[in-house]
Amino acid sequence: MSGLERQQIADRVAQEFQDGWIVNLGVGMPTMCSNTPIDADILYHAENGVIGYGPVLPAGQEDVHLVNAGGQNVSLNPGAAIVHHADSFGIIRSGRIDVTVLGIYEVACNGDFANWKVAGANGGGIGGAMDLAACAKQVFVILEHTTRDGSPRLLRECALPVTARGVVSLVATNLGLFKPLGDRFLLREIAPGVTVDQVRAATGAPVEVPADLKVIKIL
């Protein structure tokens, strides 16, 4: 029932990217989206002011002065530009990011999501997520469908403090691809080898299943 591997989840999300998009990838699984070979010219933006970065460089070839928002030593594509943090978030806040992909803890079918504060913590780690979530044209989220102890992470309402409200338009998990529809999730595509009943059992909100349910194509 585990469904997709982490890179496979990222691959499916990356296939949503369209030619000419400006994309911001969060730390963790989202960064794997840039590994996916897709037929689209994407400009990758990082919160720390790097516009147009390319692949992570192998050990020994890093530029120590250059990291993406995840702290990885990346390269620059031709046509890249560097700006400072205020200009970088100006780009975010003014709605110029076509999509941000964020790794998260929980998502609700009303489009709320949580990714900055774990239960019982004093403080949290917001980073650029709240700015991105509030201002990107689209917010895609990636997460394991359940917690390690099997509790659902796709919910009717977020239990953890939210990062932003009503913003998520796509949810990708190891079990499938979902769209929040307010009072339910639409199952857009299901992972190979996973059943609808398994998805429903692992989800903390109603799941609408289309008659012509597609299976996620593995690259």
Binding site: D63, V64, I92, G128, D131, C135
Partner: protein, 261 residues
């Protein structure tokens, strides 16, 4: 009449007069642009009751360069303003957590873009502005919001600081700075927000005029003190960022492996 030189001989000299209770902004994002040498000097200098403005306090990786967490552990910090005040992975631990839990340090959590903009506002004489970020979240609870054009925005105030610690790639002796690649990050904004900006500089100082005026990233107006970073091991040179493992030697630099304090 010649202006007093902005070039200081040592990090100890450059931070000697920072008083207890000062607010200090620390530049850098991941490794690039972090003023490791100035942090190390401040640890020795010992000023207490500091307010530290920074993206994160560090200390989750076992092999640490000087970080704000060390200032916390050295009982020098009263308050932290940061976009990370607790780990985002349940398995991580950072030094700040215990001090906040015990009430020894106050932590103000600020979204990263808001942090950058509050610093920029302070540097530009803007006392307050509105942002869509954090509306509808715990961070906006009880705070003033306002609708413009049908959308709700949160009021945020400027974040002026007494001192900025930043790291630059090149500088002329007038104080014009160049940052390399993502070393830029918060550094120009913190220089703008500060009454006094202290810079650790990687390359030898240039004569005024050696940097094309069109290329300057931070103008001399914002820079007050500069120190050339000595070769390792005396000076601290970050290598590749450790991903939860010790830093590896960086083959692109002639200097030997950086000192890890």
């Amino acid at each position: 009449m010649a202006k007093r030189s902005k070039v200081f001989e040592s990090f100890a000299d450059a931070v000697a007069d920072i008083p207890d209770g000062a607010s200090i902004a620390f530049g850098g994002f991941a490794y690039p642009g972090v003023p490791f040498n100035l942090i190390a000097a401040l640890l020795k200098q010992g000023a207490k009751g500091l307010t530290c403005i920074t993206n994160g306090t560090g200390g989750s990786a076992p092999d640490r360069m000087p970080d704000i967490g060390m200032l916390v552990q050295n009982d020098q910090v009263a308050k932290v303003v940061a976009s990370f005040t607790a780990p985002t992975r349940a398995s991580d631990r950072i030094p700040l957590t215990q001090y906040v839990a015990e009430g020894k340090v106050v932590a103000e959590l600020v979204p990263q873009g808001t942090l950058a903009e509050r610093l920029r506002a302070a540097g530009c004489g803007i006392p307050a502005f509105y942002t869509p970020t954090a509306v509808g979240t715990e961070l906006a609870a009880g705070r003033e919001t306002r609708v413009f054009g049908g959308r709700e925005y949160l009021l945020e105030e400027a974040l002026p600081v007494d001192v900025a610690f930043i790291r630059a790639w090149k500088a002329d002796t007038a104080g014009n700075l160049l940052f390399r690649r993502s070393q830029r990050n918060f550094n120009p904004l913190m220089a703008m927000a500060a009454k006094m900006t202290i810079v650790e500089v990687e390359e030898d100082f240039l004569e005024p005029g050696a940097i094309d005026p069109d290329d300057v990233h931070t103008a001399s107006i914002f820079v007050h003190r500069m120190v050339k970073i000595p070769a390792a091991p005396e000076g601290l040179w970050p290598g590749r960022r450790p991903e939860r493992a010790p830093a590896k030697e960086n083959p692109e630099r002639a200097a030997p492996k950086e000192k890890q304090s």
